[in-house]
């Protein structure tokens, strides 16, 4: 391998193609050539066609996985290892090796890539010096065994006995292969979080080994021969490459914990069933293979049915046993869901529940905003891009995420995300609604303030512009008038013109006053006093209000102005009373009359507009009107500084 890595390194510098791609390409080509050659020349030594077809199909899958791995992890030796597995499988399993002496020891080759995959995944190299030694010795043993067998079969084809050297090599081989099965465990202890997830995939795929053993047991039990082992081996030859490929390319593809629990459950159930059948056989005195066909079939079918029924329960049990944290989380989330449904709690508690049950105080629940799908926390803070999280889905749409602390690279399980989904959905809609409502309210208030500012400017412009010009014009006319002499008819005309100008100025002043009474600059009390002075009927003013924010004072003024105007216009009132009080961060404005009532928000459009203004500042406007008690308009405006 060292040599293989050396030569192509030069090539990589020149062409930038990783050596693994070249190696995999070469091995795929070699496998194709081998298939063609075997089909053309193997003739009588070829295995039956159905077996050849299965072998080629498995090899094709392995080669595909090899290509995927080589693409996803260039420079990682795993790709070429998987590809070589395909080549070896074709060469050693399509030919009847017992017929061709030279091939006799090649079965050992088949296990070499699998053992090496267990040693190098993930990372592409043995974890330590010890494992490098194991790798080297294993390669040496397999090489010696294969070559030795080939030589022996050529030199002395008749001697079929196991030599001492052969026995030692076999023993060494078994010890080393079993050792390789422990390589991922040895690695696991020092692995980081993501590497652990990769290793879990390797370990899960390694469960195909006990499966093979259990199938061997089942085969002996049912048929008295180890035929089913072939299926187990087939599974192993696919499972380990697949596990390695997932570990290297998409470790987060599925929830590996879930896969592990399912696999362990299935194996344990299988073992229990086989034990039961064995005990039954022993009790009956005859092996199952000697039972009458019907009895055997019924027993097997009922056992299988029992396993199927027991599977979900057993899985839940193993889940609790292997991942107690997750089971606790899901149970607590269900309890919270129930309490939320019953109206006992708000869904916002979901974050605290998960923090407590997953023992991760830094865990954060985030949801995707409806407007732009950005991931935000419950307090509106953005979640940094690139943070690892478990997506939470509802109705096929990603609605949010569970974000563990940065120190915990392992993401919360999908089962937890599923239990979180209904709660997070509710949280999301609630907070989106709250934000939207607050935004609407804020924008309404902004518009109101902008409107008042606009009125103030317009009022100033009227005073400083048109009004000032008219007065200046009037002064010029007065000068002309004085020059004309008292009995000149021109003087009388000029006097009349100035009087007209004076009226225009007064009208302009009234217009500006309607836009915004300048008396408001001196406070609400001054503005209301002026309103009273200009009113045709006496208004009883009782104003006790200190300094108020401009928007509050202006709104209060318009409330009084409109209510008084209504009373004067429609109510035939004899008394109009205005009460203004500033108490406890609230301004109360009440305008009451003793008129004939009949005011309703719909008929008095001006009051509807007022109600909007008052609401924009977070206040309330109420209207009571009847023929007996007259009309009372009352507004309360919050004015906490």
């Amino acid at each position: 391998m060292g040599q293989a890595a050396g030569t192509p390194a030069v090539q990589q510098a020149r062409t930038r193609v990783p050596w693994t791609t070249i190696a995999v390409t070469f091995l795929v080509a070699a496998t194709l050539v081998a298939v063609v050659l075997l089909a053309a020349y193997a003739g009588p030594w070829l295995e039956p066609p159905d077996r050849v077809a299965v072998v080629i199909a498995v090899a094709a899958l392995q080669l595909t996985l090899a290509v995927v791995v080589a693409k996803a992890a260039p420079g990682d030796v795993t790709g070429p290892l998987l590809a070589s597995l395909g080549l070896i499988l074709v060469v050693t399993n399509c030919v009847r090796t017992e017929e061709v002496g030279i091939f006799e020891g090649t079965w050992m080759l088949l296990y070499l890539p699998l053992a090496l995959v267990l040693i190098v995944v993930p990372g592409g190299r043995p974890a330590s010096g010890l494992w490098r030694v194991v790798t080297a010795v294993l390669c040496g043993v397999v090489g010696t065994f294969v070559v030795g067998n080939a030589v022996r079969s050529t030199v002395a084809p008749e001697s079929n006995e196991l030599t001492v050297v052969g026995f030692v090599l076999l023993a060494l081989f078994f010890v080393l292969v079993v050792a390789c099965a422990f390589a991922p465990f040895a690695r696991y202890r020092h692995a980081g979080a993501l590497e652990r997830i990769r290793l879990r995939w390797v370990l899960v795929s390694g469960l195909s080994l006990p499966l093979t053993l259990l199938l061997c047991w089942a085969s002996y039990l049912a048929f008295g021969t180890p035929d089913l082992v072939g299926i187990g081996l087939l599974v192993m030859f696919l499972a380990i490459p697949a596990g390695a490929a997932i570990a290297l390319t998409r470790p987060q593809l599925f929830d590996v914990d879930r896969v592990t629990v399912s696999a362990v459950t299935a194996l344990v159930l299988l073992a229990v069933a086989l034990t039961g059948l064995s005990v039954a056989g022993a009790a009956a005195g005859t092996g199952m293979d000697e039972w009458p066909a019907v009895t055997a079939a019924v027993t097997a079918a009922s056992t299988a049915l029992a396993c199927v029924v027991a599977f979900p329960f057993a899985r839940r049990g193993f889940d609790r046993l292997l991942y107690p944290e997750r089971a606790r989380s899901v149970a607590q989330l269900r309890r919270l869901s129930w309490r939320v449904d019953a109206g006992l709690e708000g869904p916002e508690g979901v974050e605290d529940v998960l923090r407590a049950s997953l023992r991760d105080p830094g865990l954060v629940i985030a949801y995707r905003r409806l407007a732009d799908h950005t991931l935000v926390r419950l307090d509106g803070q953005l979640v940094a891009a690139g943070t690892a999280f478990t997506a939470v889905r509802s109705r096929g749409e990603e609605i949010g995420a569970i974000v563990p602390s940065a120190t915990r690279a392992k993401r919360p399980a999908a089962a937890i995300a599923r239990a979180t989904a209904p709660l997070l959905d509710a949280v999301r809609l609630r907070s989106e609604l709250t934000i939207a409502a607050a935004e609407a309210e804020a924008s309404r208030e902004r518009m109101l303030r902008a409107g008042y500012e606009e009125r103030r400017r317009l009022e100033r412009d009227l005073h400083d512009g048109a009004q000032q010009r008219l007065v200046a014009l009037g002064m010029q006319l007065r000068v002309l008038q004085r020059g004309a002499g008292a009995d000149d008819p021109i003087a009388a005309a000029l006097d009349e013109a100035v009087a007209q100008l004076g009226t225009a100025v007064v009208e302009l002043r009234q217009l500006a006053h309607g836009v915004r009474p300048s008396a408001l600059d001196d406070g609400l009390a001054a503005a209301l006093a002026e309103l009273e002075r200009l009113s045709p009927k006496t208004i009883e003013l009782d104003v006790r209000a200190g300094e108020l924010p401009d928007a509050i004072a202006t709104t209060a003024y318009f409330v009084v102005n409109e209510a008084v105007a209504n009373a004067l216009r429609h109510a035939e009132a004899s008394r109009i009373r205005v009460l203004v009080r500033h108490e406890c961060d609230e301004l109360l404005v009440r305008v009451s009359d003793d008129g004939c009532g009949g005011a309703a928000p719909r008929t008095t459009g001006g009051l509807t507009g007022l109600s909007d203004r008052v609401a924009a500042l977070g206040g309330r406007l109420s209207l009571r009107s009847s023929a007996e008690t007259g009309t009372t308009v009352e507004a309360s405006l919050p004015c906490g500084s």
Binding site: H463, V471, M475, Q476, R478, V505, A519, D522, A525, L541
Partner: protein, 213 residues
């Protein structure tokens, strides 16, 4: 009289100058900013200054008036404004030899000239709107509840700066009746009723100011 005009609108400034000259007064200085007006007053020592409250940089006129009033002896100032603002002016108004009128009062030339002369003589001339606003604010805080409507009318005219005789003429009352009302107002508001007209206005304004501040 020798007069300085401080007014940023050229149209209005020249109109005012022409009007005052036609009435026989002498315009000794014209200024478009508060600072320029102060300089003109310092150079010419006029009998009275006519100042626009609002000039290019906000209410410059009030700043200029305050500066001129601080000198010894203070020059009388007539402030003109496009609209009433009492917040910054009340303090100024309590000092005497001061006027504060809306600009459109100028069109009633005879009364405007009378007011100007009163101010130049050390008296006070307040716009009825200013007085209404001060009284209104005081009334809103119910300090004037004790006064009868007639007494309120008298108080209003006193605050504008009129003499007892002028008040009587305007309200169709004898001067003696006016004096009775005034005595009653002063008693109800617990004010020191000095016979001097100007000090009387000052006392009223100071009183209104403390009640509305």
């Amino acid at each position: 009289m020798r007069i300085v005009i401080g007014e940023d609108s050229a149209l209005f400034r020249e109109g005012m100058a022409a009007l005052l000259e036609s009435a026989g007064h002498e315009i000794v200085g014209r200024a478009a900013t508060g600072a320029a007006a102060v300089a003109q007053v310092r150079a010419h020592r006029p009998d009275v200054v006519v100042l626009d409250v609002r000039m290019p940089h906000g209410d410059e006129g009030i700043g200029a008036a305050l500066e001129i009033r601080a000198w010894d002896p203070p020059t009388p100032v007539m402030l003109l404004s496009q609209h009433i603002e009492t917040r910054r002016t009340v303090e100024l108004l309590t000092s005497g030899a001061i006027g504060y009128l809306l600009k459109d009062r100028v069109l009633d030339v005879d009364e405007f000239l009378l007011s100007l002369e009163r101010v130049a003589a050390g008296g006070t001339a307040l716009d009825p709107d200013v007085v209404t606003r001060l009284l209104g604010a005081a009334r809103a805080s119910s300090v004037l509840d004790a006064l009868t409507p007639r007494e309120l009318d008298v108080l209003r005219l006193m605050a504008e700066g009129w003499s007892n005789a002028a008040i009587g003429a305007r309200l169709f009352l004898s001067e003696r009746t006016v004096e009775t009302h005034i005595g009653s107002v002063f008693a109800k508001l617990s004010l020191d009723g000095s016979p001097d007209g100007n000090r009387r206005v000052r006392a009223i304004l100071a009183y209104l100011e403390t009640q509305t501040a």
